[in-house]
Amino acid sequence: MNVTIIRFPGTNCDLDTANAVKKVLGIIPKIISCKDDKIPKSDLIIIPGGFSYGDYLRSGAIAAREPIMDDLELRGNQGVYIIGICNGFQILTERKLLPGSLLKNSSLKFISKNVELKINRNDTFFTSKYQTDEVVNIPIAHHDGNFFADQDTLNSIEDNNQVALRYLNPINGSLNNIAGLYNKNLNILGLMPHPERAVDIKTGTNDGSRIFESALNFYST
């Protein structure tokens, strides 16, 4: 299984993500620069968290228009699995690979804490090692995580069962408590929580590791 992590200027979770992949999957991922021409052959592409281009204009807006994102979009359309974590999620919505947008938290506060999340469905590439409706504990660390979509888009997200996970309690103003969602084909996942920071019980929770295990499970079965 080939895993690639894309780093933009201002990305700061690339090494944590690489360590999580290595620890959980025993795979050393390739970390590439957004200035590279192409994404190498990958079974899973991860856009990690951080503050790409300093969150200038809007979080993720500049990164979403980098030339490498043309290649990412192509891979996504071909069915390659993609995860965007935190800023990666913002980049995917700015690129319109995922619906909606992430606004400033309704409290205007940067929120950094472990939160309880409910897994909405366990029949996807990313969640087979969880139970549907299971409550997990994974940290969030963001200022712009307040999920917004117009009513029609929100209805379509719910009708197509595209929600990946929800905050158990309202925390940042997100509509329907959405913390993460899939594209219609379920091969692209964006989420605000940081699963890569929850892969070792020594940090308080390892509930994030099963996202990576689910991916491996898919390739080994």
């Binding site: 228009r65 606004l103 309704s106």
Partner: protein, 79 residues
């Protein structure tokens, strides 16, 4: 030519920054100011044959990058 793009959150989108500014003004005793919304202004020089061409170009870059039309609306001024 000089172009100015005004970008504001759509009316149905919550604007916590606007609310925070409004609360600060209330703390300063300004109680007659309500419904503050914060937006942004982006200005630039543009070379074009005429105003129509400039407007078309600015509209294009606004839709492709400057504004996110999922949450924002915009207006363009060219002088």
């Amino acid at each position: 030519m000089r172009a100015i793009v005004y970008i504001r959150l759509k009316a149905e989108v919550l604007d916590p920054q606007g609310q925070a500014i409004e609360n600060a003004l209330k703390n300063l005793g300004e109680n007659n100011i309500n419904n503050i919304r914060q937006g942004k202004l982006i200005e630039m020089d543009i070379e074009a044959k005429n105003k129509d061409e400039a407007e078309e170009k600015i509209e294009k870059i606004t839709k492709s990058l400057l504004a996110n039309t999922v949450i924002e609306e915009y207006s363009i001024e060219i002088s």
